[in-house]
């Protein structure tokens, strides 16, 4: 991590910016240092981005105009939502034109018979769910960042959340996307009708991290609110017992709506911060939610409790009312805010392992952190094996960052060795690009590069992300070099 901020000098009268201003108007194109400084980063630890002009289009045609103008001036484009990405996906490399979707934030059409809502990409995840609440529906993907992150970002990262265990990640909730291709052409991928001719390009676009084009309208599938919900907190005096109970719950033929695990360190931090009522003497807790029709919920909740006790739970508590339920979730969703009391900086990892390997990999993670003299907290989506080791540190202490990165690499290697994958929901971006060769062979990466080339033959959309240098169409070294005329 560099502490010096880099900004390439972009002068308002450079021909590309002038053309953008011409097309969009002066209020929708920003070139001042503050705007470009903000657009150069996201919630990841990457600080090496450098933004060119930052555009705020309000329509799909304006997005297309930006893309065409950038192409004409041989500039790349980088789409940007709320900038909460954790993998550096929207961190601009090589002073590209940044296309921010924040002003495209309208909910366009709600059709309850289709169970589909058309939204613009800048709509905030939780705003959509709030809008649907009185109609008895919600948007199922619920990332912990849902108060700020955008649907466009969710689509690009194929984001998940606690309730994706039963309901599936974003891809399962997107039926169509209107896209501005890197050529500037506009296409609709997928559709409200269930069968569409051709390849499932909708499916290929979801999770493409801005490398295949820019989403300008998204048709999302909405989910009826469950008639009944039960939320249980299972406490254990041993992490291993908790992890074993996770496997047993799934093996019993239940797919809870959510199955989250928190270790003692995160419990302590959360309790201090939120007072959610978590037991401070527990080594680990499981937060389990079952939802659906009432009888099934009651039966499943009882079985979850039994399985927990059979695996050594020291306490099984079921939320008695909506207030207690909300409090239990507040603790879980506020976990990242709570860690600020321990250290000022954090690096949140995101790998997935088979459920049977949870204990083994968790043990390895504690060992890795200890060896690098770092604090690690674990709060994660245990039901689908999605680990989120959270390394907390003070980046100002000399020599810390190399240890943070070394530990991160070892966590990734331990997850892959256990039969896991690089990312469960945060994506690859810049963060894990250079690890892709650990999971995929040359032939595998070649196939990914072919998809990219089919959408973006001139390598203009978000270059330097996801695909490692060995297979990337972009010259990653050149992109990361300090651009000419840098100040800052």
């Amino acid at each position: 991590m560099r502490l010096r901020r880099r900004q390439a000098a972009v002068v308002p009268d450079d021909p590309c910016t002038a053309a953008l201003v011409d097309a969009l108007g002066v209020h929708k194109v920003k070139v001042d240092g503050a705007s470009r400084y903000l657009a150069a980063r996201d919630a990841s630890v990457y600080r090496d981005g450098a933004a060119g002009p930052v555009c705020y289009p309000e329509t799909a045609d304006e997005v297309a105009a930006c893309v065409r103008i950038a192409a004409r001036h041989d500039r790349a484009v980088v789409p940007r939502g709320a900038g909460t990405g954790l993998a550096g996906g929207t961190v601009p490399l090589g002073t590209p034109v940044v296309i921010a979707t924040t002003r495209m934030n309208r909910i366009l059409d709600v059709n309850l018979d289709n169970r589909v809502v058309w939204v613009e990409p800048g709509v905030i995840n939780l705003d959509l769910t709030r809008h649907l609440l009185p109609m008895g529906f919600h948007f199922a993907p619920d990332p912990s960042s849902q108060q700020v992150c955008t649907i466009g970002g969710n689509v690009a990262n194929n984001s998940g959340g606690p309730h994706c265990l039963a309901y599936g990640v974003t891809s399962a909730h997107v039926v169509a996307v209107d896209v501005v291709l890197p050529s500037g052409e506009q296409v609709r991928l997928g559709g409200v009708e269930p069968h569409q001719p051709g390849y499932d390009l909708r499916g290929a676009f979801v999770g493409s991290e801005g490398l295949l084009g820019i989403a300008t309208r998204v048709a999302v599938r909405i989910t009826p609110n469950p008639p009944a919900v039960a939320t249980l907190l299972l406490s254990f005096d041993d992490v291993e017992k908790a992890a074993t109970a996770v496997g047993a719950i799934i093996a019993a033929g239940m797919v809870p709506a959510a199955l989250e695990m928190m270790d003692s360190r995160i419990i302590a931090a959360v309790e201090h911060h939120v007072h959610a009522g978590y037991p401070l003497d527990a080594a680990a807790v499981l937060l389990v939610e079952v939802d659906g029709p009432a009888a099934g919920v009651a039966a499943d909740a009882a079985r979850v409790g039994e399985i927990g006790r059979a695996h050594g739970a020291t306490e099984v508590r079921e939320a008695v009312d909506e207030h207690e339920r909300a409090l239990l979730w507040k603790g879980r969703k506020g976990a990242f805010g709570a860690i600020a009391v321990i250290k000022p900086d954090y690096y949140l990892h995101d790998t997935v392992v088979p459920r049977r390997a949870l204990v083994e990999v968790l043990t390895a993670i504690y060992e890795i952190a200890a060896r690098h003299d770092l604090i690690v907290l674990n709060v994660f989506h245990a039901g689908d094996g999605n680990l989120h080791p959270l390394l907390v540190f003070d980046g100002r202490e000399p020599g810390t960052m190399p240890r943070v990165h070394a530990a991160g690499r070892e966590i990734i290697e331990a997850s892959l060795a256990a039969g896991g994958v690089l990312s469960g929901e945060h994506g690859i971006g810049v963060e894990k690009r250079d690890f892709m060769n650990l999971q995929f062979s040359d032939d595998d990466l070649d196939a990914q590069a072919r998809l990219k080339a089919a959408f973006d033959p001139h390598c203009r959309a978000n270059p330097g992300k996801v695909i490692p240098a060995s297979h990337s169409c972009a010259d990653i070294q050149a992109l990361q070099r300090v651009p000419d005329g840098v100040w800052g």
């Binding site: 059709n111 291709l181 269930p194 499916g203 009888a295 099934g296 094996g385 959408f455």
Partner: protein, 301 residues
Amino acid sequence: MNDDLAGFVADVGPSGPVCVRGGGTQWHVGGAVASAATTVWAPIGVVEYEPEEMTVIVGAGTPVADLHVQLALAGQRTNLVESPGSSVGGALVVGRDGVHTLGRGRARDALLQARYVSAEGALVTAGGPTVKNVTGFDLCRLLVGSLGTLGLLGEVILRTQPIPAAARWLQGEVDDPRVVARTTRTASAVLWDGTTTWVHLEGHGTDLDTDAAALPGAFVEVDGPPTLPTHAWSMAPAELVDLDPSATGPFVAEIGVGTVHATAPCPPVAVPDALRRLNQSVRDRFDPDRRLNPGRDPLAA
């Protein structure tokens, strides 16, 4: 016939037109395969099954019905369509959904990892073995419904689902079948032929009783769904109640989903130029010589 992946890769080889044959049940979808193509068979059999992972590794040549027999022993299934003789690979590359889409989700979401043979004859892995994974582009979605034109599926990892404790089909007559989809919480399928409505409820027994009692009008338990006409049309779910039987002929529509099983063939759907070009560009990159299942075209399916 092949029971190992290496043998399948060798059979496909690096050149010459080649097609994979599954059960042959959807052989007509998207055009006939060119007759000069060599026929190969994907490996058959369950390679590894761990019920607590809710995943199964299976050869793409395995009949879906055989797979489901094995999964049922552990109380699980997949959401692939089980038609007589259809193979796992065939069901995936055709990508059609079964009538239970409303409750069980779409076939395209079943595929977690695919090991396929590319046009160059290389064994390629798309996706990953875990139930959640966003590592790199989602090539698995691209392969589902590809009619085997981007790669030939050898071995796949599928997501499994628990089989609910209770299930039943009910049949009745209501003015608006959408009300059935709206009032029930356990419906995995609501079918309607313009007069009669069938609903399949699945879940906890008591919840089924509650749903059945709340159905508008008189419903009686029946053995199963009606026979489905052979052609599939696709409509926005909200438009189903207005569909024109003089165009479709006798039909059975999937309420809440939009698939219409019709007696008349579906008229060709117009594909915008930009979308057609993008589809062709994908195929050009994956199989420039069109050696994989030549003659089949997902745009025509």
